[in-house]
């Protein structure tokens, strides 16, 4: 068998369309997923009482269900299950929702690890100095926790980006869908998947570099202080 990459040329726009979809899915998921995770972490922070306790328990349930079921099953549940329950949902929205919920749950756990490693004394000192719960969470708990778990966070976002390949199963036109589509047309599986593998690799490396760049800005205080 000889490799013939010229057979891919007519499909350049297909690959481009898939790449664009994968990229924006990743960007939106990263932003929304981390936001969701922060909200979950805030709601579950400390030892909540009363109605906050119920919310905290519910969120704990969401995190456990999401982290202990396969992503593709979550995706199928949203895409095939919701319309059956009378909630129409498009393939793209289902994919986005599944990815955000998935990243949110994993990141919430990663953040919790960071928050748990923050000394309770710091938290208490902040409250004693007159900071509100939100202020103390934001400045004293969240930012140091973030900086501590930042490497794990980067990895998790890359895992979600790579995991987005699964959304091709419900006909979302992402990079993997593009590869499968081309392969079903020109039967040049090896060439197509080689190219797409390289694109995913570049995306992952690019994403990591971008995160590290942002991290250096966000957590500049650590470089001088604790490093």
């Amino acid at each position: 068998m000889t490799l013939d990459f010229s057979t891919l040329l007519p499909y350049a726009d297909v690959i481009l369309e898939g790449l664009v979809t994968t990229l924006w899915l990743t960007v939106v998921t990263t932003a929304a997923g981390i936001t969701l995770a922060i909200l979950v972490a805030y709601a579950r922070d400390g030892s909540p009482t009363g109605s906050r306790r119920i919310v905290s328990r519910l969120l704990g349930g969401y995190v456990e269900v999401t982290r202990n079921t396969p992503f593709i099953v979550q995706l199928f549940f949203l895409y095939f299950g919701l319309p059956a329950l009378g909630v129409p949902i498009s393939a793209t929205v289902a994919a986005l929702l599944a990815m955000i919920l998935n990243l949110g749950a994993y990141t919430a756990e990663i953040l919790r690890a960071g928050i748990d490693s923050t000394l309770t004394g710091q938290h208490e000192a902040a409250r004693a100095l007159g900071l509100s719960r939100l202020q103390s969470f934001r400045h004293v708990v969240l930012v140091p926790a973030f900086s501590r778990v930042y490497p794990s966070l980067i990895s998790q976002c890359i895992i979600v980006m790579l995991g987005s390949a699964v959304v091709s199963q419900i006909s979302v036109f992402d990079l993997t869908y593009a590869a499968n589509f081309i392969q079903s047309r020109n039967f040049r599986g090896f060439e197509v998947y080689l190219v797409v593998t390289l694109i995913y690799l570049l995306l992952a490396v690019g994403l990591r570099l971008a995160f590290e760049f942002v991290g250096r800005r966000l957590f500049a205080f650590r470089q001088g202080g604790s490093a």
């Binding site: 895409y79 319309p83 199963q169 419900i170 006909s171 499968n180 589509f181 079903s184």
Partner: protein, 271 residues
């Protein structure tokens, strides 16, 4: 002692070879039964499938059932002979005919030049096509241009995917799924109102989900089934063709199509 054994072995070998050659010759020279032979014998031998619903499968009573089996019964009844069903696989249905083990092959047989070189075909008797199917309440569409602006599900890389990709207008959203099961799920869950698939697959969906039974919108590729018979068997072919025509006229094929495919018999059976 040794010489005797060797001798006996050689004789057995020669005998075995002779038997093989004779069997081979007998197979080659097997004369197909013509119409007269069948009527004298009083039995019509028909090869039918048992693993390809709704054409032929084994029912809960362990008896073969399906469109092909009904067709075989119809022919035998009309010819006033007994029916002997011989279940075959798709690989051995033509050899069964060539070696005169059966008189007819009614086994969802499509026509192609390779087959036409070794056996003969009657007229088409059963619908086998790729088409666009919709929900009962979906908008009626006459042809591919009617798909403009619509969303349609199809299994990626299938023949219907290729045909549909050529036919559909550019503003049609074609959602391609990994396999038949996912495409069917998308249709049944309401994600798509139209799918492109084979009439056999559509019949299977209709069998299990009567409230969302796919109804035929238009055909995209037609390759109906023919009854296979031995070559140079003109009288039998003429008789079967006449009976197929009769079955079309008296509504037998229509009711068989309704029963097994849950859809009307297409107007044009021949490709």
């Amino acid at each position: 002692m040794f010489a005797f054994a060797k001798n006996r072995f050689s004789r057995q070998l020669v005998l075995a070879l002779c038997c093989t050659v004779a069997a081979g010759l007998a197979a080659v020279s097997a004369q197909a039964s013509d119409l007269e032979t069948i009527e004298q014998r009083g039995t019509l031998r028909v090869a039918v499938p048992q693993d390809f619903p709704p054409f032929g499968s084994v029912g809960t009573d362990l008896q073969p059932q399906g469109y092909d089996i009904d067709m075989a019964h119809y022919l035998a009844d009309q010819m006033d002979v007994d029916l002997k069903l011989v279940t075959v696989t798709s690989a051995n249905r033509i050899p069964f005919l060539q070696t005169d083990k059966v008189d007819l092959v009614i086994s969802s047989l499509g026509k192609n030049p390779e087959r036409a070189a070794v056996i003969d075909f009657t007229d088409a008797y059963a619908p086998f096509f790729l088409g666009v199917f919709g929900t009962p309440e979906a908008d009626a569409i006459d042809d591919a241009s009617g798909l403009s602006g619509k969303t349609i599900g199809v299994t990626r890389g299938s023949v219907e995917d290729m045909e549909l990709s050529d036919l559909a207008p550019s503003d049609t959203t074609i959602q391609r799924f990994e396999d038949n099961a996912t495409t069917i799920s998308a249709f049944l869950s309401g994600q798509v109102s139209y799918i492109a698939t084979g009439n056999v697959v559509a019949a299977q969906i209709a069998e299990r989900n009567t409230e969302r039974a796919p109804t035929m919108v238009f055909q995209i590729k037609n390759s109906p089934c023919y009854i296979g018979l031995a070559q140079d068997n003109g009288a039998l072919k003429a008789r079967v063709n006449a009976l197929i025509e009769q079955a079309k006229q008296d509504g037998t094929l229509e009711s068989m199509s309704q029963q097994w495919f849950h859809t009307a018999l297409p107007d044009d059976l021949s490709s």
